[in-house]
């Protein structure tokens, strides 16, 4: 059974990654699951300078989903490289770095800082975080800006670059095409949907940041549709995710066109999901007579 994937130049031992922001810097869950066995660990979104993040409450459960407004709390890229990366390298974890900038220049600068760092397999560009007001969301909603960000980053690094697309747009395919034009090696989709909740007792928005990002099974149908659409229109491998909590969900994503999948909220429900899901997929593939995961990619289109 061949489960390896080449995701735009990143060699994955298996096609299941854990999504940025849901798996910390890769070792927080190490008591429960060995991060080096996971296809790829996409670490918490990192910015040039440290960020304290948003005031609480930062998370809230919604029907079959959750809202988060972490606000990109992180210690900054230097601390990441100095303190976290060496430990991940030592354990031979396949690390994809996730970066978010306030300007095209900042994205480029961060890419140059990652260039040449041993132990980083690729860069996921968070151009779609709904919880940061400067930068963040607007980068991901205008095709021309997306093209420019990707191009600027590609200039600074030889690492595979994977822009992460926001679903909060009218035309996801246009954004995906722009990312391809900018030189993206693969696409990651989807990030969270914009959402909010109100506390009827306090009569106020629940989240400290008012708005947050919706993730979890609730958004799975939206993610599948966008991946299905982009698969038809853009010739780049897709790292697909949004609401995956079991192997059946994951299979849906492969069939819609994802070359690999990412698990976010599902890790909170079951920290061993990334590997358990793999077993379920293998069983399905065996039973159905598939010998390579590639055979499943986009199969629902034919």
């Amino acid at each position: 059974m061949d489960l390896t994937v080449n995701l735009g130049g990143i060699k994955l031992k298996n096609p299941v990654a854990v999504a940025s922001g849901t798996f910390g810097y890769g070792l927080e869950y190490a008591d429960f699951i060995e991060p080096e066995k996971i296809g790829a660990v996409i670490v918490k979104g990192t910015t040039l300078h440290p960020r304290p993040g948003n005031p609480g409450p930062r998370i809230y459960e919604t029907p079959a989903g959750m809202l988060n407004a972490i606000g990109l709390e992180n210690p900054g890229i230097e601390v990441f490289l100095r303190e976290y990366l060496p430990r991940l390298r030592e354990r031979q974890v396949t690390v994809i770095s996730n970066i978010a900038g306030n300007s095209i220049e900042e994205y480029a600068l961060m890419a140059s800082l990652l260039q040449g760092q041993e132990g980083i397999a690729g860069i996921e560009l968070n151009i779609s975080c709904p919880n940061v007001k400067q930068g963040g969301i607007q980068f991901g909603t205008d095709p021309e800006t997306v093209r420019q960000v990707v191009a600027a980053v590609k200039k600074e690094t030889s690492l595979p670059v994977i822009p992460k697309l926001s679903p909060n747009v009218t035309d996801i395919a246009a954004i995906a095409l722009a990312a391809a034009e900018g030189g993206a090696d693969a696409l990651s989709m989807i990030n969270t949907l914009g959402g909010m909740a109100i506390d009827i007792n306090r009569r106020k928005p629940v989240l400290g940041n008012v708005f947050g990002g919706l993730s979890g099974p609730a958004i799975k149908p939206v993610a599948l549709k966008m991946i299905y659409q982009v698969y038809r229109e853009v010739d780049l491998p897709i790292l697909g995710g949004g609401g995956i909590v079991n192997h059946i969900d994951a299979l849906e994503f492969f069939m819609a066109g994802a070359a690999a999948v990412s698990i976010g909220t599902g890790n909170f429900v079951n920290p061993c999901l990334a590997l358990e899901l793999l077993e379920g997929m293998e069983k399905y593939m065996q039973e159905q007579g598939f010998s390579s995961i590639q055979e499943l990619v986009g199969i629902a289109h034919t």
């Binding site: 609480g56 909220t265 909170f268 920290p271």
Partner: protein, 262 residues
């Protein structure tokens, strides 16, 4: 090292109104437990609710590999827990978090537990007594039927003082320092532990400050991961701090001098 485990439910029953005690057999988990830590529990195999729910270690019997949980039904997750039957499996993850610190040498400790806030304090009391500490427990509830931990507390040899809102037992009133001023004036407390509504703990924090007593409190916040991976359970240690602590990993237990309660 914490683990994921399907623990077998030994008993699960309503004690009074919306208060339940569940006893589980958890061989992998029980032996790792320290007072003040918590289990992150999946209340159902479905998607509603989706996330795990944190519950404190109410009591632990390492030899028998048993853990007791004391919980109050407040919403969907706890309601589903209450429906579970002996023999069923409970999906637990833990023990998680930083628990209470135990004094190096025997001390006179004050434990202040309000309502279901007593949950983490019974196991703490047990371990403190094992270490030879002397305990004064202030136990505040709405009415005497909610005093679920009382028997066990007394059995392990703690001195318990009770406050009930309705006056059905002990002093009448909320669990705040003035109500116990007379009792406390005769005691030489060296350390205070507290869990309950934050507004109550804040008053005890002030009291401890005035009396130069060190101590610890256990806090709550919505949680997703429970292990410091999502940064969801954040709160500021002090209002003017720029950065946030995480309840699940830096806590749930904090030293009184680490933070300002609200």
């Amino acid at each position: 090292m914490p683990s994921l485990e399907k623990a077998r439910i030994i008993s699960n029953s309503k004690q009074y109104h919306n208060l339940y005690i569940m006893e589980i057999e958890a061989p992998k988990t029980a032996k790792q437990c320290k007072p003040g830590q918590f289990l992150h529990i999946r209340s159902n195999p479905g998607l509603d609710p989706l996330l795990r729910r944190p519950l404190s270690l109410y009591d632990v019997d390492k030899k028998a590999a048993k853990i007791s949980l004391l919980y109050k039904v407040v919403g969907k997750g706890t309601a589903l827990l209450a429906d579970m039957l002996p023999g069923e499996n409970l999906d637990i993850m833990g023990p998680l978090g930083r628990g209470f610190s135990l004094p190096e040498s025997a001390k006179k400790c004050l434990l202040v537990g309000g309502g279901v806030g007593m949950a983490p304090l019974l196991y703490l009391a047990r371990e403190l007594r094992r270490g030879g500490n002397e305990l004064l427990v202030l136990y505040g509830v709405g009415n005497e039927k909610e005093l679920l931990a009382l028997e066990r507390l007394e059995a392990i040899g703690s001195q318990v003082q009770i406050a009930t809102i309705d006056g059905s037992r002990g002093l009448k009133g909320p669990l705040i320092p003035p109500l116990f001023s007379e009792i406390l004036s005769n005691e030489r407390i060296e350390f205070i532990y507290s869990c309950g509504p934050e507004s109550m703990m804040k008053l005890w924090q002030e009291w401890a400050g005035i009396n130069h007593i060190a101590g610890e409190v256990s806090l709550e916040e919505y949680m997703a991961c429970g292990v410091g991976a999502c940064l969801g359970c954040a709160r500021k240690a002090r209002p003017d701090n720029e950065f946030y602590v995480k309840i699940c990993k830096d806590g749930p237990v904090f030293r009184l001098d680490e933070l300002e309660l609200e």
